[in-house]
């Protein structure tokens, strides 16, 4: 992969940060956007804009076609079996809320159990917490091992005949650890327990195949995979989506509305209430094309090289403590420096144009477990290279100077 040419497709890198080139290491938070995606948005608004599916004039026909083409592009990208398995949402967070609400309403009762892990993002806990409140359900957290990895056995231990859902992350947004999905889903399937995968960090970094993964639900945020803001994807097995009640109510998702009764459309329509994010959906098709134009294998190889280079380099730096040591790992690197709070690290790094994130990364349960309230996190995207890591490394060294330690 020619990293220079990839990077040059992202306009933001022309920008200087405090006089320095931007070293963007915050892609786990949100990725930057390639020119093609930004242009697709503008082009759509300038030449093709209309609401979809609700008018029969030419613009609306074009817009509807573009919208539904994106659904097909994403269906193929994820290798879903049916196009009706692809639902557009506001983001991964909404996708999980949708499942927790619709699935929970229909299939859960008092005392039923949900298994999560200590690694989950708040987005994959708070919606289940609502369900716990509403249905008097029980949430069990699978414990992580000393490397902060999810282990199938820890999940297995928690399964009872009341287990009604297992929800876990594909890749941790703190440790970068990749979960053993195959094992866990095999286990769950054997007990007929549905599995939701929080793929927010998985989708940008791994080649996905829904039919092979075999999970019941998989959620994605487009803004983390070079796509536009404000758009998410919910993949769900058709058998579930056919059964689940709709989530939000409004225009577009109904079959027939009377004063006493309402009947609903079928999937995916029944889950897409109100005017959809037409422009964003169309632009997301372009983001997928961008990813495919480089190829997932190339992306993985490149990101792994940079990640390994970074691990090597940072491990040499004695003042740094890495968070978690998962065997299988992708694209995320969290750390602490003794005596310097992550927020202060982030501020000092920013001086050199290095953008990292500091905080609990919406994983307070994990941070409580490791006994720190915040960590610093560098995370990779397709546009990062070893030079970025060199700047990161020397910038980290500067922190100790500023703090006189």
């Amino acid at each position: 992969m020619n990293i220079k040419s990839v990077k040059s497709q992202f306009p933001i890198f022309k920008k200087k940060i405090n006089g320095n080139s931007l070293v963007y290491l915050d892609s786990a938070n949100s990725s930057q956007k390639p020119k093609a995606v930004i242009n697709r948005l503008s082009h759509f608004y300038e030449n093709e804009f209309s609401n979809v599916g609700r008018s029969v004039h030419s613009l609306a026909v074009t817009a509807t076609n573009r919208f539904e083409e994106s659904r097909d592009i994403i269906k193929n990208f994820l290798n879903a079996k049916h196009r009706e398995e692809i639902i557009f949402t506001k983001g991964a967070t909404e996708s999980i809320n949708l499942v927790a609400s619709s699935y929970g309403d229909k299939f859960m009762k008092e005392g039923d159990e949900i298994i999560l892990t200590e690694l989950e993002h708040h987005s994959n806990y708070v919606p289940w917490h609502y369900l716990r409140d509403k249905k008097k359900a029980v949430i069990k957290f699978a414990r992580l091992n000393e490397n902060l990895e999810i282990k199938t056995d820890e999940i297995k231990k928690l399964i009872t005949n009341k287990t009604k859902m297992i929800a876990l992350t594909h890749i941790s947004n703190v440790t970068g650890g990749i979960s053993p999905l195959e094992e866990i889903i095999d286990l769950a399937n054997s007990k007929k327990i549905p599995v939701l995968i929080d793929g927010t960090q998985g989708a940008p970094h791994l080649k996905l195949d829904m039919q092979k993964i075999g999970c019941d639900f998989y959620v994605i945020s487009c803004h983390k995979m070079y796509g536009p803001n404000g758009l998410g994807i919910l993949y769900g097995k058709k058998k579930w989506l056919d059964l689940l009640p709709p989530y939000q109510g409004g225009g577009g998702m109904i079959d027939e509305v009377k004063k006493e009764t309402i009947t609903f459309a079928e999937t995916p329509t029944k889950f897409e209430a109100g005017t959809m994010q037409t422009a964003e959906v169309v632009a997301m098709g372009e983001a997928v094309k961008f990813i495919e134009s480089i190829g997932f294998k190339t992306i993985l190889d490149h990101e792994n090289q940079v990640l390994n280079y970074a691990l090597e380099k940072l491990k040499k730096n004695n003042s740094i403590k890495l968070i978690g040591n998962p065997e299988k790992k992708a694209s995320v690197l969290s750390f602490t420096i003794k005596g310097i709070h992550p927020h202060d690290i982030a501020t000092i790094l920013d001086e050199d144009g290095v953008a990292i994130r500091a905080g609990h990364h919406c994983c307070q349960i994990l941070h409580e477990k490791i006994g720190v309230s915040a960590t610093a996190r560098a995370s990779l995207g397709i546009y990062n290279d070893k030079d970025d890591i060199d700047v990161l490394d020397s910038s980290i060294k500067k922190c100790r100077k500023v703090f006189n330690i």
Binding site: R54, V56, V61, N65, G252, D255, A265, E266, T269
Partner: protein, 163 residues
């Protein structure tokens, strides 16, 4: 204006005499006697509705077929034409005819079913103008999908959103 002219031609093709005629004077628009199968269909985006009634005998032949509903010229004409074409035909044959019809709308392929009479072909082909009007394809197919629902006794209504 070249394109505008082409479009006018397309429009004339869409609203052929035969369509306008079926649209204004639909055939078999009633509840047929002693029907033993039925299904409702609905196009939620425009509100087109159709209700298909069938009387089917033991040999799975459509002895009688009729419809009620409201909708645009295309959807009414399509329902009307369908009832004319399918009356007296067997289930299996009907399904093949339906396949032919859908394929014609999709990619203009010729009919595979040999037994169709010339006037049946002509009336079905009068709907081929919708090809150029993608949003109207659902109008043309609503009745046909609903027919299948009636035959297969599906519980849920036919819904063109889905197909």
């Amino acid at each position: 204006m070249q394109k505008g002219f082409q479009y006018l031609m397309d429009l004339k093709e869409l609203y052929q005499e035969i369509i306008l005629d079926h649209g204004k004077n639909p055939r078999n628009k009633k509840i047929c006697e002693d029907f033993n199968k039925e299904a409702k269909g609905h196009n939620p985006l425009c509100g087109d509705k159709v209700h298909i009634y069938l009387r089917v005998n033991k040999d799975k032949k459509v002895e009688d077929i009729s419809f009620e509903g409201e909708g645009c010229a295309i959807s009414i004409a399509s329902a009307s034409i369908m009832t004319e074409v399918l009356k007296g035909k067997e289930f299996n044959l009907s399904k093949k005819i339906l396949d032919d019809f859908l394929k014609m709308l999709k990619d203009g392929t010729k009919f595979q079913v040999n037994s169709l009479k010339e006037n049946e072909k002509i009336s079905m082909m009068s709907l081929s103008g919708v090809k150029k009007f993608p949003m109207r394809v659902k109008c043309a197919t609503l009745a046909w999908h609903t027919f299948i629902h009636a035959v297969e006794e599906k519980k849920i209504n036919a819904n063109t959103e889905k197909v």
